[in-house]
Subunit: 243 residues, 2 copies
């Protein structure tokens, strides 16, 4: 198996209501059966109108307190609205558990690459549904079966640096199991599950532009198949061995 990862650059800013499938098809070579389109959540969120204008946000007393000493209370207010709970706080940096169950800085709210300095980009309401809708539209127009991964770059416990991470999937199993199969030495692999959706998101992130307008990448050669959701990648705290 040999993979190719192609950047899909898009000209100009993605506006609410943009035809994201059309923009990506315009940037890609003719799609082939089994291609995986990995798209930054920011492109999806912007097309879905999941952008907030901080000038229209009135911070609550709790948000004002959370933003001390040097944060923006309006951003803290948006983090509160987008979260189930605040997990950790260091200064004005908040780690939150989003309504989806992702644990990430600022509840995944992003100020960079937002359209205008006072605007912030939120996570999609249902990233698996966003992946499914984009996949359906790409498949309708290209007439080949595809997979879509909606990706964000996330910090991680124990490791420095952010990495591309799957927050929505369609058309693939996010966890690939080797349970009960024998390896080359005849030893039966017991419980290995590989988070291939996260690996695809990480691979694509190597060509996504942080500074340029490359909101998506095409991964060709990976045998995507099956149906799953990115929620399967979330490990519930009570089952977590590490923390």
């Amino acid at each position: 198996m040999r993979l190719e990862i192609l950047p899909l650059p898009v000209p100009g800013e993605i506006e609410t209501g943009a035809d994201l499938a059309g923009l990506l098809l315009g940037a890609a070579p003719p799609l082939e059966r089994g291609d995986v389109v990995v798209v930054s959540h920011k492109a999806v969120s912007k097309a879905e109108g999941r952008v907030a204008d901080l000038r229209e946000v009135t911070p609550s007393a709790q948000a004002i307190e959370l933003a001390r000493p040097d944060g923006d209370p309006r951003l803290a207010e948006m983090v509160l609205r987008e979260s189930r709970r605040i997990v950790r706080r260091r200064g004005s940096l908040l780690i939150a558990e989003t309504h989806h169950g992702f644990i990430c800085a600022s509840a995944g709210i992003d100020r960079s690459n937002a359209p205008g300095a006072e605007k912030v980009v939120l996570l999609p309401v249902d990233p698996d549904a966003s992946a499914g809708a984009l996949r359906a539209e790409l498949e309708r127009r290209s007439a080949v079966p595809l997979a879509v991964v909606v990706a964000d770059t996330m910090g991680r416990p124990l490791r420095n640096g952010i990495v591309g991470t799957a927050i929505g999937v369609s058309g693939l199993e996010p966890l690939r199991g080797y349970h009960g199969q024998a390896d080359a030495a005849g030893y039966t692999l017991r419980t290995t599950q590989v988070a291939v959706a996260d690996e695809l998101a990480a691979a694509a992130d190597l060509v996504l532009g942080k500074l340029e307008r490359v909101p998506a990448a095409l991964v060709r050669g990976y045998p995507a198949a099956g149906e799953g959701t990115a929620r399967e990648l979330i490990r519930e705290s009570q089952r977590d061995l590490f923390i």
Copy 2:
């Protein structure tokens, strides 16, 4: 930037003292300036003789206790020898902090793909040094500047499934910073550091064989440069926001 990821299959078992550089060069197309060779730690450990025979391990009282109720006390003994501390335990599954500072299941000791059912593969003593030695040998024979990543698949807090992770690097900066650069919308990215070595390891893992003998992959097209160590990727617990 367009990436290609090519599997580097190796025939037969890798023995202690094997010419790993020669095996990988035999599997690869002519190497080009800036190619990144991602190699499974298992191949490195086997070539370095970092394999233990459980039949020769006498478990301590502590290991016997840790292996309850259904684990192998000899494996628990090896986990103790390879670790600074046991971080968590569920049944006989041990999460340990290795002498390098990695926090992983069984201190990174692996029974699958080990040569013989009673043998286990340990992590390299110094994976950054292993990456450096392999890189030097590959560069000497191919006469082009390269980078090497020694990878393992690791479980993670908060997320299900294992992913390819860098435990040793040579010839690249494992963290790529965007500090102070302006994005396409003019917003200055403040502290973004991307763990590109982990992303390269994750990307390569998509073509590495769990069941077949593909111990390495070639990543072509990524502009590897700089000098760093995989230790930079380890976040010290006291600085950890998540746990």
